[in-house]
Amino acid sequence: MTPEPITIATDVLVIGSGAAGMYAAIEAARGGAQVLLADRSLIGRGGATVMAQMTVAAALGEETPDSPQHHYDDTIAAGRGLCDEKLSQLLCEDAPDCIRELEHWGVGWARKDGHITATTAPGHDRPRCVYVDFINTGPAVSKTMRTVMARNAAIRKSGDLCVVDLMISGGECAGAVAYHLGSGAPVIIAAKATVLATGGLTRLYRRNSASANMGGDGYALALRAGATLIDMEFVQFFPIGHLAPRLIGMDPIMWDPFRYKLGGRLLNGRMEEFTSRYGSDEDGKYVLTRDLASYAIFKEVEAGRGSPHGGAYLSFTHCTPEALREAFGPVIDRLAANSIDLTRMAVEVAPIAHYHMGGVKADAGMATDVPGLYAAGEVVGGANGANRLSGNALTEAFVFGRRAGRSTAERAKRMARPSPRAQDAAAAVALIGAEAGAVQANAADLVARLQATMAEGVGPIRTGAKLQRALADIATLAAEHGERPAGRAAPFDLERLEWFDLRNMLVVAKSVAAAALARSESRGAHQREDFPAMLPQWKLHQSVRLADGALRIAGAPAGVAALAS
């Protein structure tokens, strides 16, 4: 028996409460809109922002002269010819203003001699990456934004609200259909404008650096609503994710700040330096971009020169205990609690799914090609091309979130609240309350198998044969997943939640694998062993759309001009 849907009306619906969603909510409210901020997890706690321990790239130029043009040049160069120029430009131009606004709200950016201080991250030509402290930047930002929202009565917040589908009425997005995890009841949200701020897709991979709820929901919602995705083949792997020994209470990308401060040595299983074999000498410094470092580690493992758990060693044994303690303070104690003594041992690291360059196609106002539907943050595709620079992820969350908030407030002023017809929500409402099928697959097991499939076949180093095998496996998993949800419409039925998760993950996984199979070249995060060269004719974006239940992949010319040179 399906519970009666609860209906809510708002001006602006924001889906996802990381930094992009929260900035969009704050900015839309500032523009006069009533906002509902919905998250399937708790507000400001799931997603990637709270996991972002490190830095934010912005050309503040307080310590070292800098300008958005320099930041832009580095972003374009790292993107390997595939950045969507207008988005990269917006990212770099608006970044300093957002950093200053966040400081005004209470984010305590680290300062030295009265200036906001910045560090040099790989791929940046000068110190440009600001931080709160080396482990807490994301949580500090998240906390501040939650406090700003708490003071604003125009922003209504709801955690435990899982969006199942966007609601399309008369060709425009009129809100979404969700369900409340606490009761299982369907919730129809009518909105003048909707912002997807759902983050990336790292949950598709077995080893990943983000939250368990980053299964690519926004890409799937966009596809089913008729919007276009671009660059789906470009998944960024963070090269030095923690691999062994088992370490709890720490983010697996925790070695990044150590490398910023102390360099560290990346060694293969024979304790030899190896990155020079792949054209990049590290020389004890942290300069290698993420795509090159991931490639080098994978190739060493493949050649039989990996560390025992199948990665590389990261060693700080050349540093004194004092230097380590000075750089990392209490983190050293947390490592000791995990029986790790950096003065005596190297740890094992390996590439780990970290970020998605591809995503929803949006214009400079963050509008998608479905009227009324906007996107913000990592879910947007194009700003970072084929490879993202360190520090640009939180930046795009802030900049694109703010811009989306502004655009939605403007749209909200122009139009009356939509009155979606019952039939616009009917299919999603029926799915939410559906009786389970007779045979129920174990959704948690299906997720684990999908993650294994993606790790093995659609990682950073690809071949046509491996991608085809992955696509076949995804089709098998989709058949097991079936058309009818597992579990029941009841409070916190995780089988049902995971069935809906998989419904999204499967179509997104297929988009990534199919786009990767189509791109017969190597570029940035997409490396094809059967097509090792980067080809000028491939300097274009592929788009993915869903039409009559089938994915359609198409090419389009890239908007990148000679500015990169």
Binding site: S41, V50, R246, P491, F492
Partner: protein, 110 residues
């Protein structure tokens, strides 16, 4: 020698009408209680309800519950090769199994 952690987990949707399920989880040194609960969901019972988001970083603070009567984060509490009792937070509204209402009032669905 392979060792086992025995997790006795409280199940149910009402405090006065629950039951106990005991799961045997393969133990490896260094694991967290959350590792054990996630293993159970994949290999034994996907209906086991719990909150977690960041998995390992202790950043999201969603996985609060009680182990042997003490309030902990499941992601930082060590799994041990012995009997361990896992229960929901006692002083919060219960949804199901290990899931309780831990959001501030202004951030809940109303």
């Amino acid at each position: 020698m392979s060792s086992i952690a025995k997790l006795k987990v409280w199940r149910g949707t009402a405090r006065d009408a629950g039951r106990w399920d005991t799961f045997e989880v393969p133990f490896e040194p260094g694991q967290s209680v959350l590792d054990g609960l996630r293993w159970i969901r994949i290999h034994c019972d996907p209906s086991l309800a719990m909150r977690f988001s960041c998995i390992n970083a202790n950043a999201c603070k969603e996985c609060m519950l009680q182990v042997d009567g003490e309030t902990v984060y499941a992601c930082t509490a060590r799994l041990e090769p012995r009997h361990m009792t896992v229960t929901p937070l006692p002083n919060k509204k219960l949804f199901r199994d290990l899931v309780t209402e831990i959001a501030p009032p202004s951030e809940r669905f109303k």
